[in-house]
C-alpha cells in the first residue's frame, strides 16, 4: 500500500535496489560444498597414446635409446634395495670399492645412502647403461675422506640409528638402533686411528644426516661421477667374464 503512494523516482530507486540484490545474488561468491575424488590409472589399457606427444618425444627418445640400450653385464639374480642391508646397495658399494682399489687406494669403508639408489630393484638379466642411469641419476662425484676414529664412530652410530645404509668394508650388528658389535676391515674400531671413507660428494657435504663426514682431515676427489664408475667397472667385470651375483652377507644385521 505504501508503494502505491510513493513518488515515481522513489519507485525507481526501489526497483534498482531490488534489482541490485538480484544481481548480487547471481554473482554471489561461491563456497566449497563438497569434494569428490577419482584416481585414474595412467595405462595403455584405458586409452591409446596421444600421437602428437609421441611425435614430440620421438627425436629425444631415438638419440637416448642409441646411448642407453647398451648391455653392460648380466645379473644372475635380482638385486634389491633393503635395510639393514640389501643386495643392491651391497653391489654398488662393492663395485665402488673394487674401483678405488684398482686406483691404488685402500678405503676402510664405502658408504652410500639408500635415498641415492633411485630404483628399488635390478632384475635378473642384462644390466644396461640405462639401468645404471636410473639407479644413479645424480651427478654425484666419488670422494675419499680421511676422518678421525671418533667421527667414524659417530658416522656408524648414525647409520645404526637410521636402520642401515649401503656399505662395504665393515660388519656391524644393530640392536635397537644402536651398535651392538662392529668390525672395520676385520678389526674393532679404534677411536685413536684415522679412517678413509669412500663416499659421494652428497654425503660428504652432510647430506642425509651424515654430519660426521663434514670437515674431514683430508679429501681426495677421484674426479669421476659415481654413475660413470659403476658403468665402467661393471663393463670391465663383464669383459673379464665375471657375473653379477646378488649378495647379502650380514655386513649390517639386526640382533
Amino acid at each position: 500500500m505504501y508503494l502505491e503512494n510513493t513518488a515515481p523516482n522513489m519507485k525507481l530507486r526501489n526497483i534498482l535496489f531490488l534489482l541490485s540484490i538480484l544481481f548480487l545474488a547471481c554473482q554471489a561468491p561461491q563456497q566449497v560444498q563438497s569434494l569428490q575424488a577419482t584416481h585414474y590409472r595412467v595405462s595403455k589399457d584405458s586409452v591409446a597414446a596421444d600421437p602428437k606427444v609421441t611425435a614430440m618425444i620421438a627425436p629425444y627418445k631415438t638419440r637416448l635409446d642409441s646411448l642407453m640400450n647398451i648391455d653392460i653385464i648380466h645379473a644372475e639374480g635380482e638385486f634389491k634395495k633393503d635395510q639393514p642391508e640389501g643386495s643392491l646397495g651391497n653391489m654398488v658399494c662393492d663395485v665402488l670399492m673394487r674401483y678405488a682399489t684398482q686406483q691404488g687406494y685402500s678405503p676402510d669403508l664405502c658408504l652410500m645412502n639408500n635415498g641415492g639408489l633411485r630404483i628399488p630393484v635390478i632384475y635378473k638379466g642384462s644390466v644396461s647403461v640405462r639401468t645404471i642411469y636410473e639407479l644413479m641419476p645424480f651427478e654425484n662425484q666419488l670422494l675419499l675422506l680421511k676422518i678421525k676414529g671418533m667421527k667414524m664412530q659417530e658416522l656408524l652410530e648414525t647409520i645404526a640409528a637410521t636402520g642401515g645404509a649401503p656399505v662395504a668394508g665393515i660388519k656391524m650388528e644393530i640392536d635397537n638402533r644402536s651398535i651392538s658389535s662392529l668390525t672395520i676391515q676385520g678389526k674393532p674400531l679404534d677411536v685413536s686411528k684415522d679412517y678413509w671413507v669412500l663416499t659421494s660428494d652428497y654425503l660428504a657435504n652432510g647430506g642425509d644426516k651424515a654430519d660426521a663426514l663434514k670437515d674431514p682431515l683430508e679429501v681426495k676427489d677421484l674426479n669421476k661421477l659415481i654413475r660413470d664408475v659403476l658403468i665402467e667397472t661393471l663393463a670391465a667385470m663383464d669383459t673379464e667374464g665375471a657375473h653379477l651375483v646378488p649378495i647379502t652377507d650380514g655386513r649390517i644385521s639386526k640382533k
Partner: protein, 317 residues
Amino acid sequence: MEELAKNNRRDFIRKTVYLVGFGALANSPLKLFAKEAEPKSLLICHTNDWHSRIDPFPAIDKNFGGMGGAAIRASLLKEIRKQEQEILLLDAGDVFQGTPYFNFYGGELEFKLMSEMAYDCCTLGNHDFDNGIEGFVKQLPYANFPFVNANYNFKGTELEGWIKPYKIFKKKGLKIGVFGVGIELKGLVPDKLYGKTIYNDPIETANTIAAHLKFKEKCDAVICLSHLGYKYNGKKVSDEILATKSQNIDLILGGHTHTFLPEPVNYKNLINKNVMVNQVGWAGLRLGAIRINFEALSHKNLALSWQGESSINIQKV
C-alpha cells in the same frame, strides 16, 4: 499497453517485496535467488613426482611394467577435457630427475610436454634444483605455465621474479587461488645448487597466503600445492601437519614421499573445518581428479571453509 506495463511493474514490485519479506523470515533473503542458479563445480586434475618418467615403464618392471607414459597421460587428459570443457591441471613438483631424459636434456622435454598437456600451474620440488637454480631457469622458456612457491625466498638468485607465491585462476566463472609450499632444502639438496634461496616456515606462510586468497582476493576455493611430503614419523613438517595447523585451505595436493594414497584423506584444520589431502604416487602412474562442488555463499551463512561431506569414488586402479 502503457497501463498494462505499469500494472505489471507494480505487480512485480509487490511480488518482489513479498519474496524479500518472506526471505527475511527464512533468515537468508539471498538464498531464494541463489538457489535458482545452477550449482557450480570444477574438476582439479593433478600429478606429482613425475621424475622425468616420459616413457612408460619397461615391460620387465614387476610393479609398473607398461604403465605410465606422457603420451598416455596426454590422451587421458584429452578425454577428461572433452567431458569437462574446462579443468584446472596442477603438479606438485619433482618434475625433474630420474631418467636419462633429464641427464641429457635438463628437463626441456618435460616442460614442453607439460605445456602441450596444458598444465595450469606447478610448484617446485627438491629435485627441480638438481641442475642448480640456473639449470631450472634455463628450462623456463619451454614452460608456458607458471610456477608457484610461497615459502622459498629467491631474492638475489636467478629465479627472483620468476616464481610467484600464488596464482589465481578463473575457470567456469569460479575464482581459484593456488599457492605452493616446498620442503626444507638444507641437507636434502647440496647447498651450491639452491644457492641463496631462503626457506621460510611453510605453515606460517601457508596461513598468511591462504587468508589473503580467501579474504582479500575473495577466491571461491584455495588449493595448496605442496612438496612437503605426506607424513613422517616425528615432527618433520608434512601435509598432515600442514592440514591440521592451517586454515582457509580447501585442498592440499602433495608430493615428495611418492605416496600412493588409495584415496584422499580428510583432516580437520586448525578451526575444525574440513581440508582434503591427496597424493598420487610418482612417475606419472596416476592422475588425481578431484571435483570441487560449490554452493553460493550468502552473507548470513558465510563459512570459512567447506562443511559438506566429501565422497570418494575411486576408479579401480
